[in-house]
């Protein structure tokens, strides 16, 4: 009948107008989703907070300039609680429920060791920005895991070079009683022995439990053994406690050559202020004053303005990871995992820490490592490093063969 025909045409026309008239934006580009897993609660929550700061700064800057490949970047944060099982669940949730395209994360080496083998199942790139165990770009490497930050080998390699110049021959260590502390000592001995063949490593060492609050007997015990050099791999709140307590026992007035592999971390320097003695050699994974480049100056200014503190290494590393992803995605002109892996391998970018090269054989970043002697400076509320000694990545990074990485 004529009525039905007209109604059908009418509906078709309306439908057509509706579909054709839909603005491009509604079916437009979906946001690029990144999942970030860090320690957000408990004793080490400060590290997750720093990473969050760095990531948010990077994402806001990138989005203000149009995003990546025209897509807005969105980040979802999850708490690893410093537990591998929790972190693995968090990563699965991010990939399967939140459908993120890329992953960044991980403060704890223990957690990283648990998570990295699950990446081939998730088929997502994870850029590690903090966990320093050599194994995730070494014995346990796989093509999905990348590390944009200074690892244990590099930091300790630089430290050994500093130690060699101090002239001390009898060395002991104070480090946390888990993989990080023991591996730091193991690698320190290995690297120092190559530079100072007659170096002696004492029987008496100290490995207090992580989160020990009272170091008094460790301090008096080590002082009793009369070392010439002390290599300290304590970090974070533990280092803060140790330094304050050691001060009271006159530890820093005995003429020991003291090295602290993570003593230049900003959270430690801010907590200690003038209680950090001067003249101690300290290392870190990024020192905000080491690189005079405009990239670094801009980053430090923007970070200080937004967060009212100088950027910690954790913040810089996380910030750089986002920019590395951006560079790789733009180079590959795709967000497909396989294409971005290829783009990340061999990638060279300019980061606040300096020039970074992502080595294809093990996915470890080759970058500058800075150590320095603590010194007071009226322009800064914390101890700064004067003099600063910067080692090139090539100088302090073991070769891919040495790391034991067999990338499948």
């Amino acid at each position: 009948m004529k009525g039905k025909g007209v109604l059908s045409v009418f509906i078709l026309v309306i439908f057509g107008v509706f579909v054709l008239g839909m603005p491009q934006g509604a079916v437009a580009k979906k946001p690029l989703k990144i999942g970030a897993v860090y320690i957000l609660s408990g004793a080490f929550a400060t590290y997750g907070q720093f990473a969050r700061n760095g990531i948010n700064l990077a994402v806001d800057e990138i989005n203000a300039k149009g995003g990546i490949l025209g897509r807005k970047v969105e980040v979802t944060f999850e708490d690893s609680k410093a537990k591998p099982a929790v972190a693995i669940r968090a990563f699965r949730k991010l990939v399967y429920e939140e459908k993120v395209d890329f992953l960044v994360g991980l403060d704890s080496s223990g957690v990283a060791l648990g998570v990295v083998p699950t990446l081939p199942e998730l088929k997502r790139i994870l850029i590690i920005t903090h966990a320093a165990t050599p194994d995730v770009t070494g014995k346990k490497c796989n093509k999905y895991a990348f590390r944009i930050s200074v690892n244990l080998n590099q930091n300790v390699g630089a430290g050994a070079r500093i130690a060699a110049k101090t002239g001390a021959k009898r060395w002991t260590t104070i480090g946390p009683d888990y993989a990080f502390g023991h591996q730091s000592w193991e690698y320190f001995q290995k690297y120092l022995k190559k530079l100072v063949p007659d170096a002696v490593f004492m029987e008496k060492v100290a490995f207090p439990k992580l989160a020990t609050e009272d170091y008094s007997t460790y301090i008096t015990s080590i002082m009793d053994a009369n070392p010439e050099g002390v290599f300290i791999s304590l970090w974070g709140g533990d280092l803060v406690n140790f330094v304050r307590q050691a001060n009271a026992y006159g530890f820093f007035k005995k003429g020991y050559k003291v090295l602290m592999s993570l003593g230049a971390a900003t959270e430690v320097l801010y907590a200690l202020k003038d209680k950090m003695p001067e003249g101690v050699w300290v290392g870190t994974r990024y020192w905000f004053l080491a690189n005079p480049s405009p990239t670094n100056k801009r980053f430090v200014e923007a970070y200080k303005k937004r967060y009212n503190a100088y950027p910690s290494y954790n913040a810089q590393n996380a910030y750089t990871a986002i920019y590395a992803l951006k560079a790789a995605i733009e180079k590959a002109k795709s967000t497909k995992t396989e294409a971005v892996i290829k783009a990340l391998e061999g990638l060279r970018i300019e980061a606040p820490v300096g020039k970074i090269y992502i080595r294809p054989q093990d996915h470890q970043a080759i970058l500058n490592v800075t150590w320095g002697k603590t010194a007071a400076d009226p322009n800064y509320p914390i101890r700064i490093l004067k003099p600063m000694v910067t080692f090139s990545g090539e100088e302090v990074t073991p070769s891919p063969e040495e790391t034991g990485c067999k990338m499948k």
């Binding site: 609660s41 408990g42 004793a43 929550a45 400060t46 997750g48 907070q49 009683d177 060492v205 100290a206 490995f207 207090p208 439990k209 989160a211 020990t212 609050e213 009272d214 008094s216 007997t217 460790y218 008096t220 015990s221 009793d224 974070g236 709140g237 803060v240 406690n241 304050r244 307590q245 009271a248 026992y249 006159g250 959270e267 430690v268 801010y270 907590a271 200690l272 202020k273 209680k275």
Partner: protein, 287 residues
């Protein structure tokens, strides 16, 4: 060698004193109320944060030492009145869950209020220096704690064994029903005891503030150590808390110095030994 042993012993006793204050609160609460306060370590942590806050406001450590434990004590009292009181006649596990819940709540609250970073409190100038003990530098503050602990212990002993109120508390600890039928207002007593226990934990925290970095979850370790001390000394025993804490501190210090490899196991070996040989603890009541 002799000097090292004495210095090590001093370290141990200093640690023991701090543990004593916290364990004393824990054991009193258990002894009188039968409540195992899992949140005790968090109250200790809160004491440290309150001291930090007091330092920021008043710039006076002694005032902080006065105010912080009081604040923690009042918070404890509020927890008891509003929450704990409602579940005394319920199953023991509910009490454990409730105090554990407060542990979690306080840990996160502290992070939200003061941030996730580390804070430090300086000791007052009077106590900030070093003394020479047997020719070696020793922190004055540690000696201060060493002296303060037994002083507090003595005051507590005098309170519990020489005053009427103390006698009532001990009576309620021994036999709650009998004390109640003799006219003691047991619920009110419980509130005061919980205040007292929390006050002690807060005092421990405030005293620890100049020694240890203040950060979220700083109570996690001390609660385990306090539990061990309380079990070794005897649940509910006041002299037990003192002796247990001293033993713990000394074994800890000498363990670190002489057998560092197994030092971590020593408190638990002690615990196992006491439980096997004398399950009620050194001074505890017959089970």
């Amino acid at each position: 060698m002799m000097e090292t042993l004495i210095i090590t012993a001093l370290n141990g006793l200093s640690l023991g004193t701090l543990l004593f204050l916290i364990s004393m609160g824990l054991t009193t609460i258990f002894g009188v109320m039968g409540v195992l306060n899992f949140a005790h370590g968090s109250l200790y942590m809160l004491g440290a944060y309150m001291c930090l806050q007091a330092m920021r406001l008043f710039h006076n450590f002694w005032l902080g030492l006065l105010v912080a434990p009081l604040a923690v004590g009042l918070l404890g009292m509020a927890i008891e009145v509003q929450f704990l009181r409602k579940i005394y006649d319920r199953h023991l596990t509910l009490q454990l869950l409730l105090t554990f819940a407060f542990l979690l709540i306080l840990d996160d609250a502290v992070r939200i209020l003061w941030g996730a970073g580390y804070h430090t409190v300086d000791p007052p100038r009077l106590l900030a220096g070093t003394l020479r003990v047997l020719g070696r530098p020793y922190p004055v503050y540690s000696l201060f704690i060493l002296v303060l602990g037994p002083a507090v212990g003595l005051a507590l002993w005098a309170f519990f064994y020489r005053t009427k109120v103390g006698m009532i508390v001990r009576a309620a600890a021994m036999d709650r029903e009998m004390a109640s039928s003799l006219g003691v207002n047991v619920p009110k007593l419980f509130t005061y005891v919980f205040f007292f226990g929390s006050w002690l934990a807060g005092l421990g925290g405030a005293l620890a503030a100049p020694l240890r970095a203040i950060g979220p979850a700083m109570g996690e370790k001390i609660i385990i150590e306090s539990f061990i001390v309380v079990v070794i000394g005897g649940l509910g025993s006041f002299p037990g808390a003192f002796i247990g804490a001293m033993i713990f501190g000394l074994f800890d210090a000498f363990g670190i110095h002489f057998v560092p490899r197994i030092h971590m196991a020593i408190p638990f070996i002690l615990l196992a030994a006491v439980l096997l040989w004398r399950p009620r603890g050194l001074f505890g009541e017959e089970i």
